[in-house]
């Protein structure tokens, strides 16, 4: 019997979850807990694991969507600037409500992601439609601009809130708790279901608007719905843990290498793979140099940046065509 990639990935996920429960400043045997260890697991490690799974899963699916819709292997919420837009709007919310706006932050992040997506797409298109290179440049430019505003806001804000916001921006899950989880899971669920419902559009758009039209679809409508799905997912991820790069870039490629490019398989497996990768990155970040914690976003960037450069090289050499 052929081993299904889904089962292999679920198996890997199980291992990562066990590692993540066990490792940290104190090594714990999750099958034999004393009351203090139980408290550590329930109050500290479990919320972090759940946040990492939801956040990484959202990023993986958002990346899979954006790469297909824009026919660009280098697209993801971070590269296209939508993460920065969501983070800026969310940061305003955090500062304005002194950190109490638990329900407000995901919605503001969604607004930021939607507005940024709209601006980047409109800058990335010309009379003939969306251009891959143009879109990428627009996204990078907008992303830098919004990040600069975010830095500016934080350097002007009160000192005590800033450190938390800075760590949050770097994708630090140390502060993860249950408060944002319900609202963010809702956004993630909507985004994921919407993307799955438009899987045919996602497949067809990856082959170009004319092919999609020939297959009986309306390319403009499909693109709008799919970018909406990606924005929901980006907002969920930013609300959960700030900006984490490269998960959305790497995971869909790894998944496609395993199972091909069909969205029916790529979307669910990117969700699992993204959650697994971020959970692993967070576990590594808090285990390698105790008591220092390296933010998960820093760990993913340390792996992701070289990966990005390899992708770029393959893309420019025509290997991706």
């Amino acid at each position: 019997m052929k081993r299904h990639p889904l089962f292999i990935m679920l198996g890997c996920l199980g291992v990562v979850l066990l590692l993540s429960l066990s490792l940290g400043q104190q090594t714990i045997n999750p099958f034999n807990l004393d009351p203090l260890q139980l408290k550590i697991v329930l109050d500290l490690r479990l919320p972090r694991i759940v946040v990492a799974l939801l956040m990484g899963g959202s990023l993986g699916v958002a990346g899979a969507i954006l790469q297909g819709v824009f026919r660009n292997p280098l697209a993801d919420p971070y590269v296209l600037g939508t993460s920065s837009g969501a983070a800026l709007a969310a940061a305003f919310g955090l500062l304005a409500t002194q950190g109490t706006g638990v329900w407000l932050v995901p919605l503001l992040a969604l607004t930021g992601a939607l507005v940024t997506s709209a601006v980047v797409v409109s800058l990335g298109r010309d009379a003939w439609g969306v251009r891959a290179e143009r879109l990428l440049l627009a996204g990078v430019g907008i992303g830098f601009f919004l990040s600069a505003i975010l830095m500016l806001v934080m350097s002007l804000a009160q000192a005590d809130g800033v450190k938390r916001a800075l760590l949050w921006m770097a994708g630090d899950l140390a502060a993860a708790d249950w408060s944002v989880v319900p609202m963010a899971s809702l956004l993630m669920l909507f985004g994921f279901v919407l993307a799955l419902a438009r899987r045919r559009g996602l497949n067809a758009l990856a082959l170009g608007d004319e092919v999609a039209f020939g297959l009986g679809l309306e390319p403009g409508r499909e693109r709008t719905l799919l970018v909406l799905a990606a924005s929901l997912l980006t907002a969920a991820s930013v609300a959960l843990g700030g900006i984490v790069g490269f998960v959305g870039l790497m995971v869909p490629h790894a998944v496609r290498a395993l199972v091909g490019a069909d969205a029916r398989r790529v979307l669910p497996l990117s969700a699992i793979g993204g959650g697994m990768l971020l959970c692993l990155a967070d576990t590594v970040g808090r285990s390698v140099l105790p008591p220092v914690e390296i933010p998960a976003g820093v760990v993913t960037a340390l792996i992701g940046a070289p990966w990005f450069l390899i992708m770029l090289r393959r893309a420019t050499n025509g290997g991706m065509r």
Binding site: N72, L207, G208, V211, F213, L215, L217, A261, D262, M320
Partner: protein, 242 residues
């Protein structure tokens, strides 16, 4: 009984006229070739036929209804359209393309996934990534996708470009047999005048206007070819009669 009908169709990108007063009727079972110089409006005509573009004047009718008035899924079940160049930046596999074609159509498929792949000479390649096959094989994989849609009218923009001699003839033979056995209507644009002689009917266009329409053996003359491609009067094209 016509399957695709162009009725006094005019179209312009901006102010430059691209298709001028074009009328023709494609009958069921016909394998039709579209001949013309670069920029003469071949691709635009195929896009108008597929409903991608709306005529500025006139109408394109598919199975008795304006092509743009069919709902997407119904249109895809009736008509397959393959653009000239397709970029596939993601690592799709051959079988996944065929699946996409099948998913576009609703009901009884003309050919099974296996039959479609066999028809284009890619049997057993379901799991092969597009990046690992040659340009010609990739083109055949996309033709398999269009065939899997099961439409009775196919509009293919230069499907023979990039194929070697054998597959050019094999693809033409396949299209011809589909026309005969399944009563398909196929219109392709092409540049090879020798291959064009194997078709049922040729439409020759110049600057968006229909120059000639008829049996290849009857209309393809040195004079018509010179006129179509703006050649010097002394230029003789090999293989074309006087």
């Amino acid at each position: 009984m016509s399957s695709l009908r162009f009725d006094q169709v005019c179209f312009s990108y901006g102010s430059a006229p691209c298709v001028v007063q074009f009328s023709c009727n494609l009958a069921k079972g016909e394998l039709v070739g579209l001949i013309g110089a670069n920029g003469s409006g071949k691709s635009t005509l195929l896009r108008l036929g597929a409903g991608l573009l709306t005529p500025t004047v006139g109408q394109v009718q598919l199975d008795g209804k304006p092509v743009r008035s069919w709902k997407g899924e119904e249109r895809a079940t009736r008509l397959g359209y393959l653009p000239q160049s397709i970029e596939a930046p993601l690592p799709f596999r051959v079988g996944e393309l065929v699946e996409m074609g099948r998913a576009a159509a609703r009901k009884d498929h003309l050919l099974s996934c296996k039959e479609v792949l066999a028809a284009v000479g890619l049997e057993g390649h379901e799991q092969t990534p597009l990046a690992q096959i040659s340009g010609g094989e990739r083109r055949r994989a996309f033709i398999a996708m269009i065939l899997a849609q099961g439409g009775k009218t196919l509009l293919l923009d230069e499907p023979l470009a990039g194929l070697d001699l054998r597959y050019q003839y094999e693809l033409l033979t396949l299209l011809r047999s589909l026309c005969q056995t399944h009563n398909l209507t196929v219109m392709i644009s092409l540049h090879d005048l020798i291959l064009a002689r194997n078709l049922d009917r040729l439409l020759v266009i110049r600057q968006g206007q229909l120059l000639a329409d008829g049996l290849p053996t009857e209309i393809l003359t040195q004079q018509l070819v010179q006129q179509t491609f703006d050649l010097d009067p002394g230029f003789q094209v090999a293989g074309i009669g006087g």
